[in-house]
């Protein structure tokens, strides 16, 4: 076996290990936005509900049923406080 193929083999193994370690961590190492970085996420257009009136209606029903409110937007604080 020549030296070149040995190096190639080692390089291939190293490459595979790098790929495996990247796959293993996947998106787990991505940091979510910090509480103070949620300005864009807090914009009304970023809500999953397209119709504000419908959303208000749904929230009203949920508040009545659950005896709890909030948690439907980012502008409330990212701390679950409103």
């Amino acid at each position: 076996m020549s030296g070149g193929s040995w190096i190639q083999r080692r390089a291939r193994v190293a490459g595979m290990m790098v790929c495996a370690s990247l796959l293993l961590t996947a998106c787990g190492t991505l940091q979510p936005p910090q509480p103070w970085q949620r300005g864009l996420l807090a914009k009304p257009g970023m809500r999953l509900e397209a119709d504000p009136l419908q959303q208000r209606f749904d929230q009203h029903i949920q508040t009545s049923k659950e005896n709890a409110s909030g948690g439907s937007g980012i502008g409330g604080g990212g701390c679950g406080c409103n």
């Binding site: 290990m17 790098v18 940091q31 103070w36 807090a42 502008g75 409330g76 701390c79």
Partner: protein, 166 residues
């Protein structure tokens, strides 16, 4: 010769593992801050004069922040003479957003601008708004997250109890 695969993986993992910042804890000394104000002058914290500092981190997009401002104005008006200093640190990435907010909800206390959010990182904020009550030497007396109108009474009592101490 390429590096050992084990070394490569270890180096990658070391790179990927971030060191988490420690949140502000009661009894510790809060980081000192020097930030620009709206008029361009610098705001320093602590300033060496205030007996008690209530520092509030806010942003224009944050609903409870809007609710907290009238209360912060009241605290400043009521207790400034006794040595309370209210500081609002704005964390909007765009200062224009903060200006628009302040047009709607005027602040009668000191406002510092921190679009890079360096102060938020140093204080390792967990939510918005966040506030800390600091003693004259910068020691953290209390940390408060969020703002509900119902919190106001307890917070005022806390401020008052520390101002009443000789």
């Amino acid at each position: 010769m390429p590096a050992s695969p084990l070394f490569t993986v270890a180096a990658l993992l070391a790179l990927l593992l971030a060191v988490p910042a420690h949140a502000l804890e009661t009894g510790t000394i809060a980081p000192t801050l020097s930030l620009p104000q709206r008029d361009g002058s610098s705001l320093h914290m602590p300033d060496g004069r205030a007996r008690l500092t209530y520092v509030d981190f806010w942003a224009s997009w944050c609903g409870p922040c809007r609710q907290s401002f009238p209360w912060l104005n009241r605290m400043q008006a009521r207790y400034a003479a006794q040595g309370l200093r209210v500081v609002g640190i704005n964390l909007d990435a765009k200062t224009a957003d903060a200006e628009r907010f302040l047009q709607e909800v005027p602040a009668q206390f000191e406002i510092a601008l921190d679009p890079q959010a360096q102060s938020a990182k140093r204080y390792a904020l967990k939510g918005m708004p966040s506030a800390a009550l600091l003693a004259a030497d910068g020691r953290v007396i209390a940390v408060h997250q969020g703002f509900r109108p119902g919190d106001a009474e307890a917070l005022e009592a806390l401020i008052k109890s520390h101002l009443d101490k000789p």
